[in-house]
């Protein structure tokens, strides 16, 4: 449904999207994750024909985005990361205008306007100027607008940014239903790992314009190698972990110790006996958060590499192997 081949967009010297090759099949909800500035929005802008690639190519629904941008636009819907509703119109007027621009027939238009207003709970504010909306209400209007015309491919750039938890859940349900019932292909960027985990059938983690990890949420989580246990203890001594095979990795940051542990819930007792008295303990189940940090967390990654090269780590690994 979407393919990109060595897709590149440069701003001056900076390659915001760097030789990206992706393949997203029809009906997939694809999550694009990555730190600020990774190139997610730029990728979307290329796919929705608002930007022209510096090199490489891409197709959406089989249509080339450079050669036939007008055709591509007939197949897509977008919820932008940045505000894009008209302040000087009412919420309803914004939606009606959208419906007309997307050639929705009158009957369907009226029905969908009501439906999406209902969804984002703006029905009683629909006739007020958008100017008078709160930040979250504007965001909801943006979402409502993007969801109303049921395109073949839907691009959602941080759709639930700034929404309250309750609204967020409504939206998740609606997106999931849309994708399933209409066999819609969805490309979604988000910084909420929970959202990505819940909605996406596949996730690509992006950094510096490149995909650095790709897979189902389940597989990605599995690859991190276990849960993370965070201990607070002064004067932690790595040698106490000797013989505990379920501890895969150790990282010390001040008085905080980060351990990657297999099946942390079952092994916690043994771990704590070995470590001794701690000020606090926290178990983080393997989540996309850890996946995200593993592939993109710059601070985390550098320290980890440093630690692996350090003598303490080496001796411990050696000892672990002897056991």
């Amino acid at each position: 449904m979407i393919t990109t081949s060595r897709l590149t967009k440069k701003f001056g010297k900076l390659a915001a999207v760097d030789s990206l090759s992706l393949d997203i099949p029809e009906g997939e909800v694809f999550g694009l994750l990555g730190p600020n500035g990774a190139g997610k929005t730029t990728t979307i802008n290329l796919l929705i024909t608002l930007l022209k690639p510096t090199s490489g190519s891409a197709t959406v629904n089989g249509i080339d985005v450079v050669k036939h941008p007008a055709e591509v636009r007939k197949n897509i819907g977008v919820v932008f990361q940045e505000p894009s509703v008209d302040d000087l119109l009412s919420g309803k007027e914004n939606l009606e205008m959208h419906a007309m621009l997307y050639s929705m027939p009158g009957e369907l238009r009226r029905r969908r306007v009501e439906e999406v207003l209902e969804l984002v709970e703006l029905t009683d504010r629909k006739d007020d100027w958008v100017k008078t909306y709160s930040g979250g209400m504007r965001r909801r209007l943006e979402l409502a607008r993007g969801l109303m015309h049921h395109p073949k491919v839907l691009f959602l750039d941080e759709p639930t940014l700034g929404l309250d938890p309750q609204t967020r859940q409504h939206i998740w349900k609606y997106i999931a239903r849309l994708a399933k019932e209409e066999n819609m292909t969805v490309v979604l960027t988000t910084h909420y790992m929970e959202e990505a985990d819940l909605l996406c059938s596949r996730i690509g983690i992006m950094d510096h314009g490149k995909i650095v990890a790709l897979g189902t949420p389940k597989r990605l989580k599995h690859e991190v190698g276990g849960d993370v246990v965070v201990l607070k203890q002064e004067g932690f001594d790595r040698s106490c972990l000797k013989g505990l095979k379920f501890v895969k990795k150790v990282k010390v940051d001040g008085d905080e110790v980060f351990l990657t542990v297999e099946h942390a819930h079952e092994n916690l007792q043994r771990l704590l006996s070995a470590v001794g008295r701690v000020r606090s303990v926290e178990v983080r189940e393997a989540s996309l958060n850890e996946v995200f940090l593993k592939y993109t967390g710059r601070k985390y990654r550098e320290e980890e590499e440093g630690a692996e090269g350090g003598w303490a780590e080496r001796t411990m690994n050696a000892e672990a192997q002897r056991d």
Binding site: N45, I48, T49, L50, L51, K52, A70, R73, K74, I76, V78, F80, E82, P83, S84, V85, D86, D87, L88, L89, E93, M97, H98, M100, L101, Y102, S103, W129, R145
Partner: protein, 250 residues
């Protein structure tokens, strides 16, 4: 070119709604022309006995109203870009020509409404007699063409210069000269030659001259020229607007 009637209507409707939604803008954009008419017209009328300067000035002031509103409507694309709404339009399955067309018609509608209002108010102030029906129609046609080419010019400019900061600059170095170096304020015959030459190169002079001919009967270029130049400029401005808007990006 692909025009889609329903979508042109959508874009038109937005312009008109934005306009009617902000009553303050309507009032404030009428204030300046009225001030010009009353202060300038009243003052000069006293200076030149035997010449109804106010009546002479009226078409120029109506043109001023239309001009400011039209250019503003075209240039407001800069704000749409700034506030993000342009993305919504550019990502929609709507051809660029349609957007340009809708905006021109929308901008011209709001400008015409103000122009007509100004005209009626002005006639009350100056005591100019109501022109015959054929002349009124002629005035409306000319005002429409005038307004459309100014909106189009505004769109072309806004598609190229993208910064909000340039707006004030544009107003000072483009709109003001276009207005002052035209036939709006003084009879071309009585101008010094250099000023007359400049003003004769200014398309705005022709639109104003045409309106003046149709209102009080004094003509400089002749109606044929007035309409011909105005339609010609419209064609050029429309081509420029679609050309540059097609190239514009977020």
């Amino acid at each position: 070119m692909a025009f889609e009637a329903g979508k042109i209507y959508a874009v038109w409707l937005r312009e008109v709604k934005r306009f009617t939604n902000s009553k303050a803008r309507i009032v404030s954009s009428m204030g300046q022309p009225i001030l010009f008419l009353v202060a300038l017209g009243g003052g000069f009328s006293a200076l030149i006995p035997g010449f109804n300067y106010m009546a002479f000035l009226l078409p120029g002031i109506v043109a001023m109203t239309v001009m400011f509103t039209s250019i503003f409507a075209g240039v407001s694309i800069i704000w749409d870009r700034e506030f993000g709404f342009l993305k919504e339009m550019l990502a929609a399955p709507t051809s660029r020509e349609t957007i340009v067309m809708g905006r021109i018609l929308g901008g011209a509608t709001t400008a015409l409404l103000q122009g007509v209002l100004m005209f009626v108010l002005g006639m009350l102030f100056t005591g100019v007699a109501v022109p015959p029906l054929a002349n009124i129609l002629g005035i409306l046609v000319l005002m429409t063409v005038f307004s459309c080419y100014l909106v189009a010019a505004g769109i072309a400019i806004a598609s190229v210069v993208q910064e909000v900061e340039t707006f004030q600059l544009l107003m000072n170095f483009l709109v003001m000269p276009l207005f002052f170096l035209s036939s709006a304020l003084f009879p071309l015959e009585q101008m010094p030659a250099w000023l007359r030459d400049i003003s004769s190169l200014n398309p705005v002079s022709y639109a104003i001259d045409g309106m003046r001919t149709l209102v009080i009967g004094t003509s400089h270029f002749g109606l044929l020229y007035d309409f011909g130049v105005s339609f010609g400029i419209l064609a050029i401005a429309f081509a420029a607007a679609t050309y540059f808007f097609n190239k514009t990006s977020i």
